[in-house]
Symmetry: C2
């Protein structure tokens, strides 16, 4: 490290400006000069110092992405997609995770690490509107995910209510009538799962059924353990659902594990639908029916949207906040449809299917 424009200029016998022109593809440079400069660059192995360049230009080429938890495959998959989308614009992604803590989310949304980043994509869980309103300065920001806010920020999220309704509709169409919801925290419009719970309620009501609160199970967080605990709690208090709609795939998978432990069959005894379409659900012993948000669209839209904001920074009046809804679809798998057919017999002299779990 340490080869600067000046070194190259010295070597090529030109001025710094000329080298800069070559590096930045400034059109009006004699081919001869360009060649000489390029030669010097190659010889010295010159690489522009982005730090300095961006100090000058006021942009860093780095955008931050803050997700609750990288251990959640949904966010890991989205993060991967964001990195790819950003790379297509020659932007680098700086990753943070908030553990879903309101305090950390607020910290990130405020100018934490501003100056290093051109913009921020934040996927909040616990953050409240007032935290967002308290944000006075900081780089452009776009929001990702289910939480809704009364704050002037672009927001990328699928239509969670419609998606939840489609999931519940599917269960109703299967003839299920006692559909539990796993993952609600409390009876409040401020809770993270608000929209999906609301979709559950609406669709059951629309079908003429009764959305019993007793069939709603709270979770502390949204991972497999939470799903397992909530499912066990529901069963232990004597509820007998014939279907489960979970806040996300992780909760659904945790629930399915408990069902299997208790000798309940999926989907025969209880059908299960998740949300997120994480890879894992496709390969579960009983593959998981789920709502699949278009993750690549989400990532692309978030990056495009953010870069647009960054480009328009300082514009007056600022463009109004947008509400962008990427697509989603319901992916039906074995956890609601069952195994399509008899498994083909194993090769050789294998014994047939065993007597089941236990």
């Amino acid at each position: 490290m340490g080869v600067s424009l000046k070194d190259v200029a010295l070597r090529a016998g030109v001025s710094v400006k000329t080298v800069s022109n070559v590096v930045n593809h400034y059109p009006h440079v004699t081919p001869a000069t360009r060649a000489r400069v390029q030669h010097a660059i190659d010889e010295l192995g010159y690489r522009p110092n982005l730090m300095a360049r961006h100090l000058r230009k006021g942009r860093t080429g780095i955008i931050a992405l803050a997700v609750p938890e990288l251990g959640n495959p949904y966010f890991a998959e989205v993060a991967g997609a964001v990195i790819d989308a950003a790379a297509r614009h020659e932007q680098t992604v700086l990753l943070d995770h908030t553990a879903g803590l309101r305090e950390k989310e607020a910290l990130v949304s405020q100018g934490f690490r501003a100056h290093v980043i051109d913009g921020l994509i934040l996927s909040p869980i616990q953050l409240e509107s007032e935290d967002l309103l308290a944000r006075t300065a900081g780089p452009p920001m776009v929001l990702l995910g289910e939480r809704e806010y009364d704050a002037p920020y672009d927001h990328i999220a699928i239509d969670n209510v419609a998606a939840a309704r489609a999931a519940v509709r599917h269960l109703l169409d299967l003839g299920r009538s006692r559909i539990a919801f796993l993952g609600a925290r409390e009876e409040s419009a401020r809770q993270p799962a608000h929209l999906r719970l609301s979709g559950w309620r609406q669709e059951i009501a629309a079908s003429g059924g009764l959305a019993r609160d007793a069939l709603v199970a709270a979770t502390d967080g949204f991972d497999r353990r939470d799903g397992a605990v909530a499912m066990a709690a529901l069963l232990d208090r004597g509820e007998r659902p014939d279907a489960v709609f979970a806040y996300n795939d992780l909760v659904a998978l945790g629930a399915m594990r408990v069902l299997s432990e208790r000798g309940l069959r999926v989907p025969e005894d209880i059908a299960v639908v998740g949300f997120d379409d994480v890879e894992e659900g496709r390969y579960a012993a009983v593959s998981l029916t789920t709502v699949a948000p278009d993750k690549h669209a989400i990532a692309r839209l978030a990056v495009d949207c953010l870069l647009e904001r960054i480009g328009a920074a300082g514009a007056d009046p600022a463009p109004p906040p947008r509400r962008i809804r990427p697509g989603h679809r319901l992916v039906i798998r074995e956890s609601t449809a069952g195994r399509p057919s008899r498994p083909r017999p194993p090769p050789g002299s294998w014994s047939g299917p065993g007597p089941g779990p236990g």
Copy 2:
């Protein structure tokens, strides 16, 4: 944005240097001045411009982490741990993924995005020693993971051979004799799974058994699909293993899915051991026995090691490359040990366990 040291100095009626002193906790400042400056800082909402600071200091406070695939929960979990470990040193992590492509790995290992980062943690899959040797400049780098190189870089990795042998030992102790290996690509010391395959071979040989090549199944990559395809291929060519040791948990989970489809019971018909201890394995319908690397130790050691290198940059002679082996342990779960006991009966009038898959 746009409040600079100068603005604060003007406001507080002091010089830039004094403000800088306050910001950097320089000890010799009068409490009175400090208070006045701090007041001005708060009023103006001043945040230091890291870009400029680091241009000056020659360090950015950003380290890069390049993993093959964020969609692989192992790497996602490690990435999360690295972010946390870095945060404890007030370092930020810039994330890249290489898709396990040699070309991208080489690009990252060379000075791609140098100048922005102080150092690089790289987890290679396909990279070869010659690529590493070709690296002429660039920030300090430490390597992560199973691949071994003849290149002067610190390398953090558990003892893969010993870990693999422990896994195979466990299967042998269970009385299994036809133990397949899933995930080897070819018969070469250069292939990614080399060490684990070697452990498999050694332990079987040590037990007096025969490590048949026919029981080794190749995979293209290392995810669930690859595991499923490899398992199916192995069965389809008439092999009848009574145990499977997979390159990693994802491959193992994919294999288990195929076993379930074909009516083969785990562990009764085939015991399965994975590698990585991803969260998912704990909640699989049949929970997965696995080799658990100490991910937090890995992350911490990688960050510490890198920061040490960064601190010692330019030292002559450079400290010799280190080979650091974090701990690992075998976690025994149902895929080899079976369900510990009869599932407790479900509440109410539920029917008992069904007739099994299919």
